[in-house]
């Protein structure tokens, strides 16, 4: 057992448990808090994968910005009808779990069948180099400049759209 494997198992256990806790809590605010924990453990996994920039962006954008937005909306809307919202129909629950297990079995079968670590020989040096903000920024401003501009425009459109939708009354 080396330190990386131990760290992976700890972070993966946190990520798996918090994702399950998130969908089973009746209180929506608790769900949001578990999702924040899940995002933090994912940021740790990104660091383990030498993706420093993505790890920092994960904490700032997801845990910082998006989840604060979610919590803000949760507190704006009333949550006292929360227990009635939680589904009690056994059939739908059973069906949902069946579907997700089916999807998981398919994905696991594909992963073990293709066995990607057999053909890939990981290169620690190249991996560290790929995760730096320098190489990602170089990619963004050369090969992916048009998607980058489109993403900026998408954010502008989303800002205007959110303003229009959440306005007092829209005609």
């Amino acid at each position: 057992m080396n330190i990386q494997l131990i760290l992976f198992f700890i972070l993966a256990a946190i990520a798996a448990v918090t994702s399950v806790m998130m969908i089973t809590r009746k209180n929506a605010v608790l769900s949001a808090v578990f999702l924040v924990l899940n995002f933090f453990s994912l940021a740790g996994l990104y660091l383990l994968l030498n993706a420093q920039f993505i790890a920092v962006a994960q904490v700032i954008v997801y845990a910082g910005a998006i989840m604060v937005l979610f919590l803000f909306v949760l507190m704006l809307l009333n949550t006292d009808t929360e227990h009635k919202l939680f589904i009690d129909k056994k059939a739908i629950k059973f069906f949902a779990i069946l579907v997700s297990i089916f999807v998981f079995v398919q994905l696991a079968f594909l992963i073990f069948k293709s066995n990607p670590s057999r053909t890939l020989t990981p290169d620690e040096e190249a991996s560290i180099n790929a995760g730096t903000i320098q190489s990602i920024g170089h990619m963004l401003y050369t090969d992916y400049i048009i998607p980058f501009e489109v993403a900026g425009f998408l954010l502008l459109a989303a800002t205007i759209g959110a303003l229009v939708l959440a306005k007092k009354k829209f005609e």
Binding site: A65, F104, L154
Partner: protein, 102 residues
Amino acid sequence: MSNVPMEYYLILSAFMFCVGVAGVLIRRNAIVVFMCIELMLNSANLTLVTFSSYLGNSIGQVFVFFVMTVAAAEAAVGLAIIIAMFRNKMTVNIDEINIFKW
């Protein structure tokens, strides 16, 4: 990094995706359904970062950057839609928000 087999990350990602699918199907609170969608986006991000890291190629991380942008835009617009719905219907239960059905 190279001490952890790549399949471990992919299996974790698949598991989180399936939990997100189950959450979308089980939960009736529109905001929690949105959070489950964020969970699924994150599991896809984990797969992209895993492949990017093991290939030593930063294109996967550039894609994660774009996914984060789209997720932020989606969360802003989606929550605005939920607020507008709540103003009309006074509920966030997705079983009662069926205004496209007649």
